[in-house]
């Protein structure tokens, strides 16, 4: 990654002014670089990293492994685009190995997710099989550990 992305990756709220100071560059320079990355769709958004287990609207999340028949000419892209257009689908990856697509789906409860799989995914003609795994607990996401957050344990001041 480049230096600016490294900084934003640690805290996306760091301002262009602050980044400029940290890197010994001009603010204009940093603003332009960020702007370019946004235009080039290198930076696609800025979001908080939320520990969902701590808020009311705790959603269920499942990983669905899909085996699919790639379509002639378009490979997996065409089926993928039919899947990612659903807002319930949070992440979608093409995988190597025992299955083809990893779909991360969110719903209000298990039933809702199960219905989504049976009514939408399983119905698509190129899908050969589905295997649904509900996620029970988040330990780490985006490089951040979610449990046992001890805070600063350093005890000595000198």
């Amino acid at each position: 990654m480049n230096e600016i992305l490294d900084i934003l990756d640690k805290d996306a709220r760091t301002t262009p002014e602050q980044i400029a100071i940290m890197l010994g560059r001009s603010t204009e320079d940093v603003k332009a670089a960020i702007n370019k990355m946004e235009n080039d769709k290198i930076i696609l958004g800025y979001k908080p990293l939320v520990n969902r287990e701590k808020i009311e609207d705790d959603l269920v999340c499942a990983l669905i492994e899909l085996k699919v028949t790639p379509s002639a000419g378009e490979g997996f892209d065409s089926i993928a685009s039919r899947i990612y257009c659903y807002e319930q689908v949070r992440n979608l990856y093409l995988m190597s190995g025992a299955y083809d697509l990893a779909v991360f789906v969110e719903g209000r409860n298990i039933k809702e997710v199960a219905l989504f799989v049976s009514e939408h995914l399983a119905q698509m003609d190129s899908i050969l099989s589905t295997s649904t795994h509900f996620m029970l607990k988040t330990y780490k996401r985006e490089g951040v550990i979610f449990e046992n957050i001890k805070g600063d344990t350093r005890e000595l001041m000198v």
């Binding site: 900084i7 640690k10 805290d11 709220r13 760091t14 602050q18 100071i21 940290m22 890197l23 010994g24 600063d152 350093r154 005890e155 000595l156 001041m157 000198v158």
Partner: protein
């Protein structure tokens, strides 16, 4: 029992740490943002941890040779050569319980009761008490903000007396962040060359030097190797404070007697840490660089932040501290720290913890995440604005 009569007056005379007092208050408060600690926020790189774990699995749980395992001593000589162009034999090196023990052993080995030990201040808290415990007389040399807290030739010259036994050279410096360039060191060497003074060079922050030239060891300066005890360690460079490992290098004639002190007080340094340290020296340049770059970014950020509040702050080029001058607020260092903690819940360390000459300053550590630093700057800014 009359404990006062029992205790050694030398120990009784050592003032209690003022830092501890504030720290206890901090522990009882909620939502405190600290810039207080003097150790890396990074964790020890994984490969170093693995090497330590592996050594345990292999059953390396015994004492080592007093001087430390040969593999590590050899690796230290290779490292010092690679980094700073120094040539030591593994017999001129021994492994200690942190730089702290090496400083203690050095002072106990060379100081004869009544000897004077020159200590540039502000500086790390241990030099004075350890000198006193060794029977020596600590002689502070006040370094100045306008000299960028470097030790100057004139200051050194006027501090030397016939009783001067040793000079502590604490650069890169805690708490000021000052560094000494090759030229600065040459000026010091000029004064020392004609004397019998021993230099105890505490270079524990050697890898955290943000100048383009990087760190220069006093050992590199003509004629200094024969009279210098070089102190370094793993705490700061490799984020290994809890492993308690450092080392001393010097002429055999001094190192061998130092090992006697170590042998009877310590036996040998932690075995697990020694095996981990071999890995650190061999293959962690990349991790060290990543940490250094990160410190450097935070250094610039915090320096700009403090200056924009109207505080004067010299640009430190080493270690991970800033040492802003807070006299404009009208508070003493202690008052500033207490009020800042009470009014804005930010913990910093009073400059006078590092010697009387630290009065008028505070030490802010940037061994903290950018998020934490920004939060602290915002609060300090609000506080300072009320008073200047």
């Amino acid at each position: 029992m009359d404990y006062e009569k029992i205790l050694s007056p030398v120990v009784t005379a050592i003032p209690p740490s003022g830092i501890r007092k504030l720290f206890n208050v901090v522990n009882e408060m909620e939502d405190v943002v600290s810039l207080g600690v003097g150790e890396p926020d990074f964790n020890t790189p994984q490969s170093i941890k693995n090497a330590g774990i592996r050594s345990l699995e292999l059953g390396y749980t015994h004492y080592t040779a007093n001087a430390g395992i040969k593999e590590l001593r050899e690796e230290i000589t290779v490292y010092l050569n690679r980094k700073y162009n120094l040539s030591y034999d593994s017999e001129d090196v021994f492994v200690t319980v942190g730089g702290s023990e090496a400083i203690d052993a050095a002072l106990r080995t060379v100081v004869v009761p009544g000897d004077e030990v020159l200590i540039p201040e502000p500086s790390f808290v241990c030099y004075k008490p350890l000198t006193a415990l060794a029977g020596g007389v600590p002689v502070p040399i006040v370094t100045k903000e306008e000299d960028n807290f470097r030790l100057t030739k004139q200051q050194l010259e006027s501090a030397i007396t016939p009783k001067t036994k040793a000079l502590i050279l604490p650069y890169p410096n805690n708490p000021t962040g000052a560094v000494m360039s090759k030229k600065d060191l040459e000026a010091i060497a000029e004064v020392i060359r004609g004397t019998n003074i021993i230099i105890i060079s505490d270079e524990i922050y050697s890898e955290l030097n943000y100048t383009p030239e990087g760190h220069t060891s006093i050992i590199e300066i003509e004629g200094m190797k024969e009279r210098t005890i070089l102190i370094n360690g793993f705490s700061k460079t490799f984020a290994m404070t809890g492993w308690r490992l450092g080392y001393a290098c010097g002429p055999k004639e001094i190192i061998q007697p130092m090992i006697k002190v170590h042998q009877f007080a310590i036996m040998s340094s932690p075995t697990t840490s020694q095996y981990a340290a071999v890995e650190a020296l061999r293959s962690c340049d990349n991790e060290v660089n990543v940490m250094k770059n990160e410190y450097n970014m935070r250094r610039r950020l915090m320096l700009a932040g403090l200056r924009s509040m109207g505080l004067s702050c010299f640009e430190p080029l080493g270690a991970f501290y800033l040492f802003p001058n807070i006299t404009k607020t009208g508070f003493s260092s202690d008052e500033f720290c207490e009020r800042l903690l009470k009014e804005e819940r930010v913990a910093v360390v009073s400059g006078n913890a590092f010697g009387v000459s630290g009065e008028g300053f505070i030490r802010c550590s940037y061994a903290y995440s950018v998020t934490n630093i920004n939060k602290a700057l915002e609060r300090i800014g609000r506080f300072v604005k009320k008073y200047i």
